[in-house]
């Protein structure tokens, strides 16, 4: 059911994204672009002692990528970079079909995207940006 994908949680996050904006002094940042859709996200992180203290994003995109980014930022703020990466891996595995994976909280709302493989990239876009950002060190 398409309503499983475009449920209230996704639409709310898409309409009122959390952590939208920019950081005064980010330690890491990255830009991701999906040439297929034109979805774009710039992610900024403030990492201290291995912990993501603050996070912000700017960009334009579809409801799925915007909601995915918003949800990601709320979930990884306060987590260590290793925890964040591990969560991203679980999420990617789950939406590409691994049904064994534990409940991922709000990320579950995005799982129905697996029925629409062309759109999976929209949901993983922020997680790719996160990996890029963590590789970037200071910008």
């Amino acid at each position: 059911m398409i309503e499983d994908l475009y449920q209230e949680l996704i639409i709310d996050h898409a309409r009122f994204p959390q952590n939208r904006g920019s950081l005064a002094a980010p330690s890491h940042s990255a830009h991701q672009y999906n040439p297929l859709c034109g979805d774009e996200v710039t992610l900024q992180l403030l990492v201290e002692n291995g912990v993501i203290q603050d996070i912000a994003f700017e960009g334009q995109g579809c409801a799925i990528s915007t909601a995915a980014t918003s949800i990601m930022t709320t979930l990884i703020k306060g987590k260590t970079t290793e925890e964040a990466k591990a969560l991203g891996q679980l999420f990617r595995d789950k939406i590409t079909g691994n049904a064994e994976i534990e409940d991922l909280g709000e990320l579950e709302a995005l799982v129905p995207i697996k029925e629409y493989p062309m759109r999976v990239k929209c949901a993983t876009l922020p997680w790719h940006a996160l990996l890029d950002a963590l590789r970037s060190e200071t910008t």
């Binding site: 475009y6 639409i11 859709c37 034109g38 409801a63 799925i64 929209c122």
Partner: protein
């Protein structure tokens, strides 16, 4: 019913009736083309031009027959002027490289319209970089029509090539190419027309148009994928060097030099897509059996009805309002992104394309990133329109 000729239309999509509205991307294939494809591999498969045996002779005859049939269909003076390629994109690249690299130099100008598909834009841009020529935009109006006055002012003696799409794949505009070609010829420029979207909807007469080069896509005119053609005026093609070299396109080869075959072989090295080109003839036969004027009117009418109905939904507008338009509707909703709309339509069995449609400069012209595009073909009916409208209404309910 025409739809009965297209078996794929009977197959449900996500459990719903398929409303196939992505004809600008590729058209579905009639049973005759499907049969001809199977028949070729079952009974006619052999390499062309080479075999000393009956089967190869038969395959070669059929292969050349498609060329003759296509040449007649577009009213080329001779079938030698029809070069087989793997698609419209390759046809344009052939001209950009072979003609462009040898006829353009520093200071020359290539005019390219703002509504070109990347296929008739990027090759010219790359050639202009290589040759020090400049590429200049022919602007379009807010309605999505060529600004003919601006075009006239751009036509100076420095213009060597004009690249123009016959029918826009993004917004459906049918350009006045006959007039534009005549205008270009007055200053001695050649014209490359991208006809990818035209052949399935319009009767094209290359001699009447006076066009220098015309690029054709097989899979957008109910034919197989992987086949296309380039029409070029004989004197131009004769003067051009080969685009790619190898077997089948030579007269003699020695360590010192190679002499090339005459048209059309000069531009067709290697084994062509025989299994696509032979069934392509069945697609042309199919079109020959239609009244294209009526077909085009019916497609445009469906597009107009769709446009009228969805524009009544709050926050929806259609980009591209040219007076002469093919059955293409490019939709923007201010309450959702093109891709979300596309996915919801997909869930209702409605197949549309979302994105920039390989026309990023055009999107920029309208300050947009992407549209949701419905494009009509010969088999579409009011039922498809209704299904699409209902799906857009559903999307509106979801996004509020």
């Amino acid at each position: 019913m025409l739809t009965a000729n297209f078996p794929i239309l009977e197959i449900p999509s996500r459990g719903k009736r398929l409303a196939y509205l992505d004809n600008a991307a590729t058209t579905q294939k009639p049973q005759s083309v499907i049969d001809a494809t199977a028949h070729y591999y079952r009974e006619q498969n052999a390499n062309v031009h080479r075999g000393a045996y009956w089967l190869s002779q038969e395959a070669t005859a059929l292969f050349d027959q498609t060329r003759v049939q296509l040449a007649n269909w577009i009213n080329a003076e001779s079938s030698d002027e029809v070069i087989f390629t793997k698609g419209c994109t390759e046809s344009i690249n052939l001209v950009a490289h072979s003609w462009g690299m040898n006829n353009l130099s520093q200071g020359d100008v290539i005019l390219v319209s703002r509504m070109e598909h990347h296929a008739n834009f990027v090759p010219w841009q790359q050639v202009s970089i290589a040759k020090g020529a400049s590429i200049v935009e022919i602007p379009i109006t807010d309605l999505g029509e060529i600004d003919l006055e601006a075009y006239q002012n751009l036509l100076t003696g420095r213009v060597k090539m004009v690249a123009i799409v016959h029918v826009s794949n993004s917004i459906g505009t049918i350009n006045p190419i006959k007039k534009m070609i005549a205008m270009a010829h007055k200053v001695g420029a050649k014209v490359m027309v991208d006809g990818a979207q035209a052949l399935a909807h319009l009767k094209v007469d290359v001699q009447d148009l006076g066009v220098d080069f015309y690029a054709i896509s097989g899979h957008k005119m109910y034919g197989p994928t992987g086949v296309g053609a380039l029409y070029g005026k004989r004197e131009l093609l004769d003067a051009m060097p080969p685009y790619q070299t190898g077997g089948s396109m030579i007269r003699t080869v020695s360590f010192e030099e190679t002499t090339f075959a005459a048209l059309p072989d000069k531009f067709e090295p290697g084994t062509p897509n025989i299994g696509g080109i032979i069934p392509w003839a069945s697609a042309i036969t199919f079109l020959e059996g239609q009244n294209l004027l009526e077909v085009a009117a019916q497609e445009a009418n469906l597009a107009q009805v769709l446009e009228k109905q969805i524009e009544q939904i709050n926050g929806i507008r259609v980009v591209g309002k040219a007076a002469h338009r093919a059955g293409i509707v490019s939709i923007l909703a201010d309450w959702t992104h093109a891709h979300d709309l596309g996915t919801i339509l997909d869930s209702e069995g409605v197949a549309v394309r979302t994105g920039h449609h390989c026309c990023m400069p055009l999107m920029k012209r309208f300050n947009i990133v992407a549209t949701t595009r419905a494009s009509f073909g010969i088999y579409n009916t009011m039922e498809d329109v209704d299904q699409c409208v209902a799906a857009v209404q559903k999307a509106k309910r979801i996004f509020g």
